[in-house]
Symmetry: D2
Subunit: 341 residues, 4 copies
């Protein structure tokens, strides 16, 4: 049984609390939040106790912490939690600064404690099935990857201003997906972005629509499309062309009903947002963390993966600012030790 302290009782913390409490091999021991009452309410729902993050990190009865606090606290908390001997699952991104994230990794690695980064999409059953097909050789060698990732609506501009920008805040998931599926880091990053959804996003120095192209050393290519606005719902798709075929993961739909009338055939929209689409992914993600933490096996998504994605986000941010000039990402080593066959 893994005794868990949850740091952060906001929207995503609440999703994790359900999974921690409902898992047969984990229990929710304590919850902290900068808003004490939020921690108390969430803790009460699952028979846990409210505490400060200091108390949780100091509690020898707690084996692991899940970090679901604001991004600017991630690096510090990872360092302190691993120093305190905890296994860590930290929400993405590791940090908005690549240098800070790398320093964090060095400290965490020195403790020998395992750290997993919460790239939930790796655990989506659809993307998982796509990857399984790839690894089973169903399309031969991967050659051209396309990731489509559109949010239903942009966040408030106040959030945009502290988010680190679209590439670090939103596309970072897609950079990780590229690493997950291509099994390597690209040698070149090109980014084109515009603020055409909302001029206020442009005034805040960010873009809301972007295309990034990644080129790998062996000639393979990946292209990522992001938009902050898809009025029909959360649009999350992957296509991978290989030497022997094409794999595609389509959206989950709200239901399977179609309506054929004189006006045409109407069907359901994609599920609205990440809470609807990725609920099964969060559950599978937690199960993977618990299993690795209890059995001492390698974490399925590492701090190194988090840094790799961040490095691509930084390169894309640079490229976009330079009108799309190709930028070589600052990546010290291979993302993944196991190249895709």
């Amino acid at each position: 049984m893994l005794r868990v302290g949850l740091l952060g009782a906001g929207r995503i913390g609440q999703v994790h609390a359900v999974n921690i409490a409902g898992h047969a091999k984990s229990e929710l021991a304590a919850v902290s939040d900068v808003f004490t009452s939020a921690a108390e309410t969430l803790a009460a729902r699952y028979g846990a106790r409210a505490a400060t993050s200091d108390e949780i990190l100091a509690d020898d009865g707690i084996d692991a912490v899940l970090i679901a606090t604001s991004t600017d606290t991630h690096s510090d908390l990872i360092e302190r939690a691993t120093a305190a001997g905890k296994a860590v699952l930290c929400e993405k991104p590791v940090d908005l600064s690549l240098a800070r994230a790398q320093a964090c990794q060095a400290k965490a690695a020195a403790t020998g404690r395992p750290v997993m980064i919460g790239f939930n999409r790796r655990f989506d059953p659809n993307f998982g099935a796509l990857k399984a097909s790839l690894e089973a050789g169903e399309i031969g060698r991967a050659e051209l990857l396309s990731v489509t990732s559109f949010d239903p609506a942009p966040p408030p501009v106040s959030y945009i201003k502290v988010s680190g920008g679209l590439f670090r805040d939103m596309m970072i998931h897609d950079f990780d997906m590229a690493g997950f599926l291509m099994g390597a880091a690209p040698v070149s990053v090109q980014a084109v972005g515009s603020a055409i959804v909302d001029p206020a996003i442009g005034e805040a120095g960010d873009v809301d629509t972007a295309v990034v192209t990644l080129r790998y050393a062996d000639g393979r290519i990946a292209v990522i499309k992001n938009s902050r606005r898809a009025v029909y719902g959360y649009d999350q798709r992957v296509e991978l062309l290989g030497s022997q075929g094409l794999l595609s993961a389509a959206n989950m739909l709200e239901n399977t009903v179609s309506r054929a009338t004189a006006a045409g055939v109407a069907s359901a929209k994609p599920t609205y947002f990440f809470l609807e689409r990725y609920m099964p992914a969060y559950l599978r993600e937690w199960d993977a963390f618990v299993t690795a933490a209890l059995e001492g096996t390698p974490m399925p998504v590492t701090l190194q993966d988090g840094i790799a994605a961040l490095a691509l986000a930084e390169a894309a941010t640079d490229s976009a600012r330079q009108g799309g000039r190709p930028v070589a990402p600052d990546l010290p080593a291979a993302v993944s030790p196991e190249p895709v066959a």
Copy 2:
């Protein structure tokens, strides 16, 4: 808060236990089973106590019971539970005997306690969305209903022998679906059935493949297709032709991945069986029961609905035995007071 006693700790009882324990407005107080250890194991998992059904029915601290025992006990338990003042949710079918079910209804009605029958498919989000479209007038007046309902594989012949036959055991869900969508009871039932999946099913006096046609007083028609074997998974679809269009509810698939190769395009199968397909339906069903029980509003599926479906099953069984001769079902009154416009 609704305090619930669960009668029956088998496969379906376990599904209900999760939902009872997880619902914000219900708690699992006690579990009974003819196998005491099954009750104990299940009760322990949710912090409930194991008990006998007699103890549960006698416990004034229990507000409602969920009957998930074998079919031959349903009528007795409904009668005893309502007499003891409990609200009741009973798995389908009410009974294998229409006369016995009608007697049960009379006794239960005399107590004034609410009884809901567990026709889970009414709570499937897809069928629910289809019905909502119908009620919103999207296809005008309903004219021709088709229900496809195939199991992945036949049950053991030992089960077939005590099941009451395909029409009472399996197609009863589809008879209820017809009532749910057509909002009336048919005046004529014709059934054709064969044992072509497994001759042993025929030797046991049952069929494994059947088509039933229902004709309504106003000329509308419904057709139901059943097979005990669809090797590709649980096939549960509905189509409804109306004066202004067609509504269709397709299967849920295991995932959204497609694989295009030189051999063709491959996609995922339907979810394997009712536990996969109808898990969301069971959750919504329980929520509907809790809400009606706590608020004193009418149950969304009544004992009368259970009897109506059973009457159609009996008529179909008769028709099939007579080579498909039309049979008028023994239905005392309208299934539903609100005809579909």
Copy 3:
């Protein structure tokens, strides 16, 4: 080169004229019609001559005739054309009277000339691919067939009155499809029909919505659904459940565009009517006739097939008039010498 006389210059005759004139191995020599000017116009378009049907049948330079006249002339023309030594392709149905059709067959058979009946749907690429999959063993043994066949809108009541009724006029295609796919004739026919699309159709003694169930000697079952009105277009689908899987042929759509908006996802309707849907089928049908006529190989659809479908239509008409009582069709022999494995 097959020199062809076309009898009938109406809507369907015009479809055939294009194919006759465009085929590399046939030429349109002459066209007749009760409206002389229609024959002249059509003939002129393809460099053929207008003539009477008597002149065409008497012309030794004409090898084959295509009969696209009104149904009441089919039997006579088949008899006269075969007696005149022509190969014949005759539109369905052979006749509205089963007895008359059987007499026609006897006379035509005595001449030794080949007669093909124009069941165009057998040549639809989709239904053809479905049959090829069946014959390749992809779903094992066929067990339960479903044919959906809805017209976009009912014909005028004046046409209904002389049509022979829905079962002979419209469902006859589906009876033939059942024979095509099941490779046998049923032993029992049950029909339920209503006039709910248009009461005037009921007043004319016909139905506009019907379900027919066919039972085969070996226990297999087929169900056919017809409606005279599907406002979203021509709905022509087949599903076949077998011991190892399910084959489905869906509709052809007007285009492949989908439109995802806040209101949902909209896609194109099925092609509007038989001219749009079955144009490729008419072309393939003509090619099959030309090949068989020139090479002396057996016709792919025989006069016997036309009679078999008519016998089922007659049985269905009887069954519907008797409230759905099962009727044994008057079928002298097997529809097809090659049973489906």
Copy 4:
């Protein structure tokens, strides 16, 4: 009636010959080819005469020519045909050299004769329906365009060597599609390409897999993906994200049959190559040309459109050679006078 001379009797010339001869308002008068026997065979099939291109251009009885010869002859023939007073439909590309194409345009424009470039995909019913939806305002303002265009298999390397390279030979269609849908020319072109399908293509100085990103002055973005190999067939899709939704045009499939078995659900592949996919487009393209030529209305695709696509191909070729550096295309004026609203 438009009397037409066809220059070129190869594969694509044969497609056009069918349409010219079959159109109610055009007739095929003469056919030329560098292989005289090819011209004779094709001419004979449609009752036309074989001739040299000089004879055709000198024939005052010929109103229009269709240029389906090798690319290196296009500019010369356009100049000579317009000088001779013919209306011209010329296959793409205008030329491999942008400068030569611009010179050709100047000469042709001076004659006042209409020239249409054969960008057949504009006439595909699916892309046409997508554009109609866009123009009807169904997705608001276009923001992010994606064009997927994969060939089933690479051409011989001998062809690659004289093709002008992937961007001029293959992606030129997609550059035109971008202009067709975005209604403007981009200000920046970035291209990434690799030879990973076949190293021999790389040795020949070309790429076989490429991604190009186009940025428009108003911030809109288009991305084009090309591969010379999609083993599952000709993959031709368009997606367009707008402020109010997403339009998608999917592939045409070989048939509508699906096969559900224990192994999964299998469906048909896309149609194999451009002759299958775009046959309806060639027919509609010819009809548009005939209509414009006879009625004196503007050609739906102009020589200017052909030059615009070529300019993007040239810019992409430059960008790819410079490792993806953004290149401003050499475009003198707006592609289209009517901006998309």
